[in-house]
């Protein structure tokens, strides 16, 4: 089956720093989403981005479907950005999301 790898696995930042999270997937996909999981377990939708670039405030994402990767950019990080970031892909002809390994982000004041 399709493999979804995220890097780095852990990231520690000081407030105000910028970061780039990467998601690599091993086969073509129909859908790609980025989520932020807060300490209480809630998965918060960040981007629905099967291809192209999107921006939402301090966050932006780019998916290059032909090269099978996606990037999530966080600028001017805040302590509230802490948590685990997941990318999830939906392969063609399936109805399920396959989640990556996650990046645990800790932002300190």
């Amino acid at each position: 089956g399709i493999q979804v790898e995220q890097s780095p696995p852990d990231l520690i930042l000081q407030e105000g720093a910028n970061s780039t999270l990467r998601c690599n997937f091993s086969d073509s996909v129909n859908n790609l989403q980025w989520f932020h999981q807060n300490p209480w377990g809630q998965l918060i939708n960040l981007f629905y981005i099967p291809s192209g670039t999107k921006q939402n405030g301090r966050l932006s994402a780019t998916t290059v479907a032909t090269e099978r990767y996606s990037l999530l950019y966080i600028s001017s990080s805040q302590t509230t950005d802490s948590g685990v970031y997941f990318c999830a892909v939906e392969p063609y002809n399936t109805d399920k999301l396959i989640f990556g390994t996650g990046t645990r982000l800790q932002v300190f004041p």
Binding site: N30, F35, G41, L43, N45, T94, K96, L97, T101
Partner: protein
Amino acid sequence: DAGVTQSPTHLIKTRGQQVTLRCSPISGHKSVSWYQQVLGQGPQFIFQYYEKEERGRGNFPDRFSARQFPNYSSELNVNALLLGDSALYLCASSLGATGTYEQYFGPGTRLTVT
């Protein structure tokens, strides 16, 4: 508008017991999916239902079953609970059944099996 809701929030069960978890999708969403997330890992797909029919099933034993009701809400049942079933169970809803629709997740039910 209300998001995806799940009940109960927390649950403690004993090995061998049965459990039923409930999910209400976002209004207008006809697809519901269930995921299991054990500590330290990403969510794993269990089931997807669309228009009350099972559309997909993950690699889980037959002890796991689900159904979707005419109002599109859903239940996940797990029989003969094992310690390894302890996890966060997440429900997601989307407008349709294919990958062209964004999935939205509920807050989850945290199940502990002792």
